[in-house]
């Protein structure tokens, strides 16, 4: 009976055999490949290939307008004896550590403050993020003007208050120049740290705090044993980004000091630009840039394994 009922219908619309093309059209690997093509093309031609090329260039004596020959580790040997290079390494490490540590401290503090209940909360949060929106170079120019040797508003204010008698030579003195660029970097980085940590803070359930208050925990204990452990994963990610972008910073320094005075604020990125593009020694510049890679890998490793350990401690499933 059932066969009779179905038979005429089957005769009308015959089910087509799935051709090889049909199968291919629904094969996730084949489709996935075509969906990935645009993104991978960009990343391979303009990221992976140049990355490899950069390492290769660091082993050659290429100059602008001249193809170089393989010279082995000569560039690195030069750099090993180059006091300016080591100064730039020192500057970069100093800049990264000091700026990142202070950015973390102030950023976390600001996030905790913004997490409180108060009037105009949304507007305050929006205002805080503005330094991060404005192009770094343009705000660096504002700092250049604020730290001007003759017409600095800071010098003027301090003089009016009677604290100093002479203008401070902010960007002309080696120590002051370092302090100024680090300050500008912190100024720009704090909003990012604060707003991302604030997003993490908002995911912490208030009931945990209520329970802790009932148990008589002080506000420091609540921060130390509830907020901080729950925030660790996001802190690890945010600080990785912060350290990475501080370590490879270029534009802030270039707009404010260009590495001066007497190379006191030269970072590895600015030094490699100066050697490669301005002096034309592409090979040597590439060697300086490649020398940054081990530091970056170390930073990524530290935060990555820190992150993994925390996840495991909290018993979260790794998704």
């Amino acid at each position: 009976m059932a066969d009779i009922a179905i038979a005429p219908r089957r005769a009308k619309t015959e089910i087509r055999e799935a051709t090889a093309w049909d199968q291919l059209k629904h094969n996730p690997n084949w489709l996935g490949f075509w969906f990935m093509v645009p993104a991978l093309a960009f990343l391979i031609f303009f990221l992976a290939y140049p990355l490899g090329l950069g390492i290769w260039l660091s082993f050659t004596d290429t100059r602008i307008g001249r193809v170089g020959a393989y010279v082995g580790t000569e560039n690195y040997e030069w750099l090993w004896d180059d006091a300016i290079f080591w100064l730039s390494v020192f500057n970069t490490l100093l800049y990264t550590f000091v700026a990142s540590a202070i950015k973390f401290g102030i950023g976390l503090y600001l996030a905790l403050l913004l997490n409180e209940n108060m009037p105009f909360k949304a507007m305050l949060r929006a205002l805080v993020l503005i330094p991060f929106i404005v192009p770094t170079v343009l705000s660096a120019l504002a700092f250049w003007w604020i730290f001007d040797s003759q017409f600095s508003i800071i010098s003027w204010s301090l003089k009016q208050m009677g604290l100093i008698t002479e203008n401070i030579n902010f960007l002309g003195d080696t120590t002051w120049a370092r302090i100024c660029v680090i300050f500008a970097n912190i100024w720009r980085g704090v909003p990012f740290v604060a707003i991302t940590l604030l997003a993490g803070l908002q995911t912490v359930s208030p009931s945990l705090y209520e329970a802790a208050i009932l148990d008589g925990a002080t506000s420091w204990q609540r921060f130390r044993f509830i907020t901080y452990p729950l925030l660790t994963p996001i802190i690890a990610v945010v600080m990785t980004f912060s350290v990475l972008f501080t370590f490879t910073d270029f534009q802030l320094i270039w707009a404010m000091t260009r590495g001066g005075p007497v190379n006191a604020t030269h970072l590895m990125a600015t030094l490699s630009y100066q050697r490669a593009i301005i002096a034309g020694q592409l090979g040597e510049g590439a060697a300086i840039a490649s020398a940054m890679i081990p530091f970056l890998l170390a930073a990524i490793m530290v935060s990555w394994f820190g992150l993994q350990r925390r996840k495991w401690q909290q018993g979260e499933s790794n998704d």
Binding site: P135, W156, D249, Q251, A276
Partner: protein, 311 residues
């Protein structure tokens, strides 16, 4: 049982607010500090306002310098530098009608829009394939794309300069339009992956059963549902492009091709003693488009920033 703790907290809070001295005497923290106004002043409003003032002061200074007449700029003795009573738009006028500034603004805008659109298209396809097609090795590719996010432009600009030169793109906006996506694609792919994951898989299954192809599903079902994510990605990418400096500095040479950040640093910094006014006017005019965009899309912006970090 469950409402017992809350009622106790309320009681405690009420108690402390009516008698704040008790909180001081027994040193118990409780929730009392939330209630007393003077303490809140010191622990919350004072530090917060100091930080906010420091964060915003450079913009105030930028704006003030841009509208100050020249003679007031450099004379700190006769005029109070923190305010001006006779603002002038001379610097802006000079900027807009006597320099290449409008052209630089146009270049920046053009490069940013093109690079952003290219990257969003590529990222939408990539993110959809990684999250929903789940081809072989999708997780590995996702991980590699995240690693690409961690490769900074500072170690790429030297080899990229030679690549750009080889492809004949040197000193043309195309050089930037094609290289910026390497910064933008990893970021926006991760952001969009997060968004696509939140769209119920059942919707796609329904469409598949109705005979829709993957392409139709992406265009007609997934994308309309992911519009907030697309806006976030677009705005953030646009901001990153506008902010980019080292590639633009290295790949562009002629004055008329430059983008705003590079042009301001290189072309405006000359021997003119009164340059500060026009320099700050240029910095302000270069920042305003982004700040206005940001003002309209604050929520999207924040979700873009935190979304990419959380993943």
């Amino acid at each position: 049982m469950t409402d017992l703790p809350t009622s106790r907290i309320d009681l405690k809070a009420v108690l402390h607010s009516s008698a704040p001295t008790i909180a001081k005497d027994d040193h118990s923290e409780g929730m009392s500090y939330l209630q007393s106004v003077p303490r809140r002043m010191v622990t919350l409003y004072l530090p917060l306002s100091i930080i906010v003032v420091v964060l915003l002061f450079p913009f105030y200074w930028m704006g003030l310098t841009a509208i100050k007449p020249d003679e007031q700029l450099l004379d700190l003795d006769r005029y109070n530098p923190f305010w001006t009573w006779n603002p002038t738009f001379k610097h802006f006028y000079k900027l807009l009608f006597e320099s290449h500034y409008p052209m630089w603004l146009w270049n920046t805008m053009y490069v940013a829009v093109c690079a952003t659109i290219l990257s969003i298209i590529a990222s939408v396809l990539a993110a959809y394939a990684i999250v929903r097609l789940r081809y072989k090795g999708a997780n590995l590719v996702g991980g590699l794309i995240f690693l690409a996010y961690l490769v900074p432009p500072s170690i790429l600009f030297i080899p990229l300069a030679t690549v750009v030169f080889q492809y004949g793109l040197f000193d043309s906006p195309m050089a930037l339009i094609l290289t910026y996506p390497t910064i933008l694609i990893p970021f926006s792919t991760w952001l969009l992956m997060g968004y696509f994951k939140t769209i119920p898989f059942e919707l796609e299954e329904c469409a598949l059963i109705d005979g829709a192809s993957r392409w139709q599903i992406l265009i007609k079902i997934v994308l309309p549902l992911a519009i907030p994510g697309l806006i976030s990605a677009f705005i953030f990418c646009f901001t990153l492009c506008w902010n980019e400096f080292i590639y633009a500095l290295t790949f562009l040479q002629s004055t008329s091709n430059k983008t705003v950040p590079v042009a301001i640093v290189n072309e405006f910094v000359d021997g003119d003693i009164y340059r500060w006014g026009s320099l700050m006017a240029g910095a302000l005019a270069g920042s305003l488009p982004l700040v206005i965009l940001y003002a309209f899309f604050v929520e999207h912006y924040v979700s873009a920033m935190t979304g990419a970090v959380k993943e």
